[in-house]
């Protein structure tokens, strides 16, 4: 039973969403709407589960004094601070009928001055890693890799006015040549390759979804047995 019920749930949910494409109204439309609402709610619980899990892991680290437990304290403290500030902003918003993110709220402050710069900076470090990968890893080892790099070159010089102003100033061309080349690459060969990938992926997803719905694929409920 521990395995059958989840399989039945999977099939029902899958059939509702698949069939409602063809039978969009009664009764599948209604069921689809209900299930759609459920997904919103369940995903919130999943996020909470994740946070609770992080809290548990950090707490265990601190209690057991495993290496780096001090960081666990920082994780836990910043999590609690954010939770307290966040919830006070949310409850304030609910009771006073304003936005929980209005300027001046604690949540907005935390968002602007901690969450936002931290995540943005994390992301921006990629610029450095891209450059070092370009210097150390990207090699025209084969015809394939060469094609990749040459295309990358044309796209990088074509998408910003890097070479076009120079060639135009030198009078070699009188139109943005590299921009046009980049455009052509993006519109045709890029689209073709993307399309082959997309069609392949779509067929793959179609067949694996079918297997999941029909209960042939059951790794998500714990293997095949």
């Amino acid at each position: 039973m521990k395995r059958e019920i989840p399989l039945i749930i999977t099939s029902i949910a899958g059939i509702v969403f698949a069939v409602s494409y063809f039978i969009p109204h009664y009764p599948f439309g209604k069921a689809e709407n209900i299930f759609g609402d459920w997904i919103s709610i369940v995903s919130a619980f999943a996020i909470w589960l994740g946070m609770l899990n992080l809290g548990e892991v950090s707490l265990r680290k601190i209690i057991r004094k495993t290496e780096g437990w001090q960081l666990g304290v920082i994780v836990l403290v910043s999590m609690l601070v954010m939770l307290i500030i966040g919830f006070s902003s949310v409850f304030n918003a609910i009771s006073s009928g304003t936005s929980h993110m209005a300027p001046g709220t604690g949540l907005k402050w935390m968002y602007d001055y901690t969450f936002s710069p931290l995540s943005a900076t994390m992301f921006s470090m990629l610029a450095f890693f891209v450059a070092s990968a370009s210097y150390r890893a990207f090699r025209a080892r084969s015809l394939e890799a060469t094609l990749l790099l040459v295309t990358a070159f044309f796209v990088m010089v074509g998408r910003v006015p890097l070479l076009d102003p120079i060639v135009n100033a030198l009078g070699i061309t009188d139109f943005p040549f590299f921009s046009a080349v980049a455009d052509w690459i993006m519109t045709y060969p890029n689209s073709a390759g993307q399309r082959a990938i997309m069609i392949g992926i779509a067929l793959g997803i179609t067949s694996s979804s079918l297997r999941i719905i029909l209960g042939i694929e059951r790794s998500h409920v714990g293997g095949d047995a």
């Binding site: 949910a13 509702v16 609402d37 710069p117 921006s124 295309t151 073709a192």
Partner: protein, 217 residues
């Protein structure tokens, strides 16, 4: 930011530099910033989802505020029950119950994806490849041929039932070339994206933060 807080901007700048310190080497300052980040972001997501899904969607759905004229939507309880089952993961004895919501999400996604990917990514893309090969301009004609040939040979590369030999192998080879051009384009665009992010951060450090810094001290 009209209502900018000087202390806030100062802290933001310090955190930014703290993260960047990783570029020199992994160090305690970076680790502390990272830990703050992990804690703050986990809680941030939890608060946002609480507000949007649990309060706005669920709570206001089952207990509509007076005067809104809406009927309580009792169906929403189903989602809440599934959600609570998911939290059972935390309790070892009954953690098998958390498979139910998992099964629900997997099934719903499979059903939805089957249709959307089949229609949007397969059917519509195939249909839009069926363009006349001869176009008004030479470049467009060349482009149409390129798209048709690239799409077909690309698909051949992803064909698994036949060894890549002979003409078929040749076509698969052309296919991988197209894929490499596609990847090259992606590479170029990704570089562009990454650099933009860095420029954004440096702009913050040089303008908002530096100005603020000057005003604070």
């Amino acid at each position: 930011m009209a209502d900018a807080s000087p202390i806030g901007i100062f802290i933001a700048g310090v955190l930014t530099l703290g993260i960047f310190s990783f570029l020199y080497k992994d160090n305690p300052v970076y680790k502390v910033c990272e830990a703050i980040f992990i804690g703050v972001s986990a809680a941030y997501w939890a608060v946002e989802y609480f507000y949007s899904a649990l309060y706005k969607k669920f709570w206001l759905g089952v207990i509509p505020p007076e005067g809104s004229g809406a009927d309580p939507d009792m169906w929403l309880w189903g989602g809440a029950i599934l959600g609570v089952l998911m939290l059972c993961r935390m309790i070892p004895k009954i953690n098998w119950l958390s498979r139910w919501p998992l099964a629900f999400i997997v099934g719903a996604t499979a059903g939805l994806y089957m249709m959307t990917f089949f229609v949007s990514n397969a059917m519509n893309q195939i249909a839009s490849t069926m363009q006349p090969l001869i176009q008004d301009t030479f470049l467009a004609t060349l482009g149409s041929f390129t798209v048709a040939i690239g799409t077909v040979t690309g698909l051949i590369y992803f064909f698994f039932s036949k060894e890549h030999k002979g003409i078929f192998g040749g076509a698969a080879k052309v296919g991988i070339w197209f894929l490499m051009v596609t990847f090259g384009a992606s590479f170029g665009y990704t570089v562009m994206s990454r650099m933009s992010l860095l420029i954004g951060r440096l702009d913050f450090l040089f303008s908002s933060w530096a100005t603020n810094f000057g005003q604070m001290f």
